[in-house]
Symmetry: C2
Subunit: 137 residues, 2 copies
């Protein structure tokens, strides 16, 4: 993420996974600056591995196509599920699959509050505590 | 590791895994200082996940019992294989399972060149390129 606020929300998500007692989360050194592709967080547990890119902020966040491709490729080699975790101000965490992101001109991606609420799943659903029925998917 | 030399050897191992094209390695932020247990590297690929603590230097390295317990517990929750990676000066990497470490007085652990050579496996064997027959195990 490369900004203090991003690091703060990454740590928040780290502790959220840790608090379940069923997942072991890790923050990656130099994500965003490393020459090798890497997500912000990697989380293992319950026979799953989640590779997570965090996007937090007030409004719409654009995401480079290359960053999504790298997350996809990293996850394929590692054997992980790629996820985008969003945390907009005063909203809970929403988690989206890569094909649920908005697509902007120039074939880049974006995420905003509307897409997060409409398509994303909440933390409890992500970790399998309950299944939420989505009207739109 | 918390020291520049440790970071350098960690990066060396990172690129070694990356160069295989079959493993996706990650360096963990704040390993050694994070309040949550975490290894130095986590590596996924070929249907495996390796949680690796790096120990490099000139001679014998002592390892706190607590660090080993935390690596074991982290790996159990994450679903990873715990490994100690050693890199002594002018020697190749050797990888050891936790029960292959030396045990010192006070029930702490240690690793030195002799144990590394006698009990450890080399990188190619770790990643399954070939099987090396150990006379001592």
């Amino acid at each position: 993420m490369g900004n203090p606020k991003g690091s703060r929300t990454e740590r928040e998500l780290l502790y959220l996974f840790h608090s379940t007692g069923k997942f072991a989360p890790l923050r990656i050194a130099g994500s965003g600056s490393s020459p090798l592709p890497c997500p912000d967080l990697i989380v293992g547990g319950m026979n799953r591995v989640l590779a997570i890119e965090c996007k937090s902020g007030k409004g719409r966040r654009d995401i480079d196509k290359q960053q999504i491709e790298e997350l996809k490729e990293f996850s394929r080699i590692f054997g992980a599920e790629p996820w985008i975790a969003t945390r907009f101000n005063n909203m809970p965490w929403y988690f989206l699959k890569l094909n649920q992101l908005g697509i902007s001109k120039g074939k880049n991606y974006f995420i905003d509050q509307e897409i997060a609420i409409k398509k994303g799943i909440k933390f409890e659903e992500l970790i399998g505590k309950y299944k939420q029925k989505k009207l739109y998917s």
